[in-house]
């Protein structure tokens, strides 16, 4: 009972208790339950799927194996690829546009407050509203496709949300190789950065890991074939419309983040740089942008977890059944509630959770470490 040392600890604990219990049950308890469900065969036997007292057997990681290497789950793998490209372009678009707007507004033009509100406003809309409006604008016969006629050009014919065209196609079997290669490259960069900063031990660790990964990628990774045949996946052009709408909605928010960061940079620093003879470009390149790095990280985390979990925007824009714009969250819904494959739906949910955790946990870890140090 040593932690009862003083009353404050006790009160603190009592105050936290309700939220701890609620979180424990409704977040972590349900995550655990979903994980356990994903290890079962719930839904494989139609007589048990929705019975009052279903007989459910543990089958280990079979559902996950099927998702990544099964014949009929090609759609899930394409969905992962879709998510990857969507996340990439969504984050790049938001950060590019947000930073641009923020820098423009930071130079205090006339009516700055007005424009700030205008750019920030889309964020206050729900994704359903945004999705519905953009669906109308991206109809093959109307909206955006009619724009060129305003200047006398023939109207566009791109099927924004339903195009079946794919670019940058690769075989699913090459994925282990590419993953190993990418992670290895990142580790190599970490190693170089560490050596430059004089942290020899860290640098050595990173470079050795990178070496091992490269070795693995070129030997075992090349030989590792999840599928017995080549299954091509790529970037669905139908996603361009979704990316447009998502960037339209969230770039204002990114702008607000950057604007806050820019305002936090003391005027003295800029003046000092100017006095030292820095041009505007050099000022941004060497003073302001490096100071905005933490903002960029936050933005990447926030936007990243939105895009990995995206459901409502796609649902409103293209519907749940439009395969070219499918994402894992939609597939999870369809698998669970339409196809009654409850365990497989849970497995998709766990894959999503792991993906989001990969983004969020390192960030939280860093934040917490930073706070403790303070």
């Amino acid at each position: 009972m040593r932690w009862f040392r003083n009353k404050d600890t006790l009160y603190g604990f009592l105050v936290l208790l309700p939220s701890l219990v609620l979180l424990g049950v409704f977040v972590y308890g349900f995550i655990l339950q979903t994980f356990l469900t994903s290890l079962t065969d719930w839904g494989r036997d139609p007589t048990q799927a929705l019975s009052a007292n279903p007989q459910i057997n543990l089958i280990g990681f079979e559902n996950y194996r099927e998702l990544f290497t099964g014949f009929v789950d090609a759609r899930f793998r394409q969905d992962l690829v879709n998510t990857f490209f969507f996340t990439l372009f969504f984050i790049l678009g938001c950060i590019g546009l947000g930073l641009g707007l923020a820098i423009a507004l930071d130079r205090a033009p006339r009516g700055e407050g007005f424009f700030r509100t205008v750019f920030l406003f889309p964020m206050s809309l729900s994704f359903i509203v945004t999705g519905t409006i953009w669906r109308w604008m991206l109809q093959p016969e109307g909206g955006v496709n009619q724009l060129p006629t305003l200047v006398g050009l023939p109207k566009g014919t791109f099927a924004w949300l339903t195009s079946r065209d794919q670019v940058w196609r690769f075989s699913w079997n090459d994925l282990p190789f590419f993953t190993g290669l990418t992670v290895g490259l990142v580790l190599l960069l970490v190693a170089i950065a560490a050596f430059r900063a004089g942290e020899r031990k860290r640098g050595l660790m990173a470079s050795v890991s990178a070496g091992v990964l490269f070795l693995w990628a070129f030997t075992l990774g090349r030989a590792l074939k999840p599928l017995p045949y080549d299954e091509l996946h790529g970037f669905n052009l139908a996603f361009i419309g979704i990316i447009l709408a998502a960037v339209w909605q969230m770039s204002g928010y990114t702008m607000a983040l950057y604007l806050a960061g820019l305002r936090g940079i003391p005027e003295e620093l800029r003046e000092a740089a100017r006095v030292d003879g820095a041009t505007e470009w050099q000022l941004y390149r060497h003073v302001i942008l490096p100071m905005l790095a933490p903002i960029t990280l936050s933005a990447v985390i926030i936007l990243g977890h939105i895009s990995l979990k995206i459901f409502d925007l796609v649902f409103a824009m293209a519907g749940a059944d439009n395969a070219p714009t499918d994402v894992p969250a939609l597939l999870m819904y369809l698998t669970t509630f339409r196809a009654n494959q409850i365990a497989k739906g849970a497995a998709i949910g766990m894959v999503l959770l792991v993906m989001v955790a990969l983004v969020i946990v390192p960030y939280l870890y860093r934040q917490l470490k930073g706070e403790v140090r303070r």
């Binding site: 036997d45 929705l50 009052a52 099927a159 949300l161 059944d321």
Partner: protein, 411 residues
């Protein structure tokens, strides 16, 4: 004597009970179909004035959202007294096999319905010899729509077979009609597929596909995909972005000659567009499917453990009655499932559908839940995807068979 009295009291008591209480009806009939459901509820209220009817609707075409809500309610132990479901495997494959529904065969016997509904329909709604739902209406899936005046203008006849269809398609393309067949989004493509499959395979083999007697990888079944591909080449390229109504509109505007859609399209053209069936628009069975009626039907069942069982049975009794069906269907734009309904209440298209319903061979629709369980149906979209992106009939057939094995189709 005392026993006799006791049972009399109980009987009277239960009769009294039956007149009051509540009845919750769960359906996706909102919007256009709302008035038809309301007419049924009004009829019920006239018969049982003390029963409070709770009309729980969840919007979303074909029940896409309602079914998800229903599943959470059933799993949570809160079944509605009666719920709408597509007759056939959508009910059987999900709820009957899971032992959640009551056997309604006694009700059918009691009401003398066994010879009022066609035998083919009774087979589709039965599982192991027992009947589990009361079909309210019948829609036909395999109908080809056209504008007679336009066809005369182009000088073509409505094709009778898929081979003829492809010839007509070439002729029309030669006359500058870019896409002779109007097609819409995702599910309408699957809808087209089932008509092609029925036409290519014939009624017997089409039915065998769903009982597992004919494998999807059989050369006959693979051939369906080849024909389907050729038919798709006659369709508009922007199909995926159009709703079924917009696809019908394309045909009405003369940008396409034919549209294959269920007979709710007749309701759309008569009610919404104000066209006259038979004059402003014409119809024929989808190519190669004359003499076969591919049906889909909305039905209601009795979940186990409902709160107001007697009220629910009264509701089912009303749904299956001639009066109930003839009240509902003219408003909904469908025909009665019973074969003895009154033709004078229905329009020209529906009268012709009623004649076919009585005489044709009956098979069930895939897309609308009659012949395959939801677990197969919802993954059929993936099969379609594989075909549309690769145009490889064998790959699509393999995927269909893999899914059929996985969900134990026909077992």
């Amino acid at each position: 004597m005392r026993n006799w009295l006791l049972s009399l009291v109980l009987l009277l008591g239960s009769l009294g009970m039956a007149q009051s209480g509540k009845l919750e009806i769960f359906s996706w009939w909102a919007g256009d179909e709302g008035p038809a459901l309301q007419a049924l509820i009004d009829l019920y209220k006239r018969r049982y004035p003390n029963v409070e009817v709770i009309n729980a609707t969840v919007t979303g075409g074909a029940g896409v959202n309602a079914r998800a809500v229903l599943k959470t309610r059933m799993l949570g132990g809160d079944p509605p007294d009666s719920f709408q479901v597509h007759a056939g495997q959508e009910l059987i494959g999900t709820w009957v096999v899971a032992d959640r529904m009551e056997d309604l065969t006694p009700l059918f016997r009691q009401e003398g319905w066994l010879d009022k509904f066609p035998k083919g329909l009774i087979e589709l709604i039965s599982y192991k010899g027992k009947i589990y739902s009361v079909p309210v209406n019948i829609h036909r899936s395999n109908v080809m729509w056209y504008i007679p005046a336009k066809l005369r203008e182009w000088g073509v006849q409505p094709p009778k077979t898929w081979a003829e269809f492809l010839t007509v398609c070439r002729t029309l393309k030669g006359k500058g009609l870019e896409a002779p067949l109007a097609l819409g989004e995702n599910w309408t493509q699957q809808h087209l597929w089932e008509s092609v499959a029925l036409g290519v395979l014939g009624a017997a083999d089409y039915a065998n596909l769903w009982t597992g007697k004919l494998r999807f990888t059989d050369p006959k079944a693979v051939a369906v995909w080849n024909t389907f591909g050729q038919v798709l080449d006659c369709a508009n390229k922007d199909a995926a972005g159009l709703s079924w109504q917009q696809a019908v509109d394309r045909m009405l505007e003369g940008k396409a000659a034919f549209n294959i859609m269920g007979d709710w399209a007749a309701g759309y053209m008569t009610t919404t567009k104000g066209l006259k069936p038979g004059q402003d628009f014409g119809w024929a069975p989808a190519p190669s499917t004359a003499g076969v009626f591919m049906m889909l039907s909305d039905s209601f069942g009795l979940p186990k453990g409902v709160k107001n069982r007697t009220n629910t049975i009264n509701w089912l009794r009303l749904l299956g009655s001639k009066e109930g069906q003839d009240t509902f269907n003219p408003l909904k734009g469908s025909i009665a499932a019973r074969t003895d309904s009154d033709p004078s209440k229905y329009n020209a298209y529906l009268q012709s559908a009623m004649r076919d319903w009585r005489t044709n061979r009956i098979v069930g629709s895939l897309v609308h839940g009659a012949v395959a369980p939801e677990s197969f149906m919802s993954q059929f979209g993936t099969v379609m995807e594989i075909y549309l992106s690769s145009r490889n009939a064998q790959a699509a057939a393999n995927a269909a068979q893999a899914i059929a094995n996985q969900v134990r189709l026909g077992q």
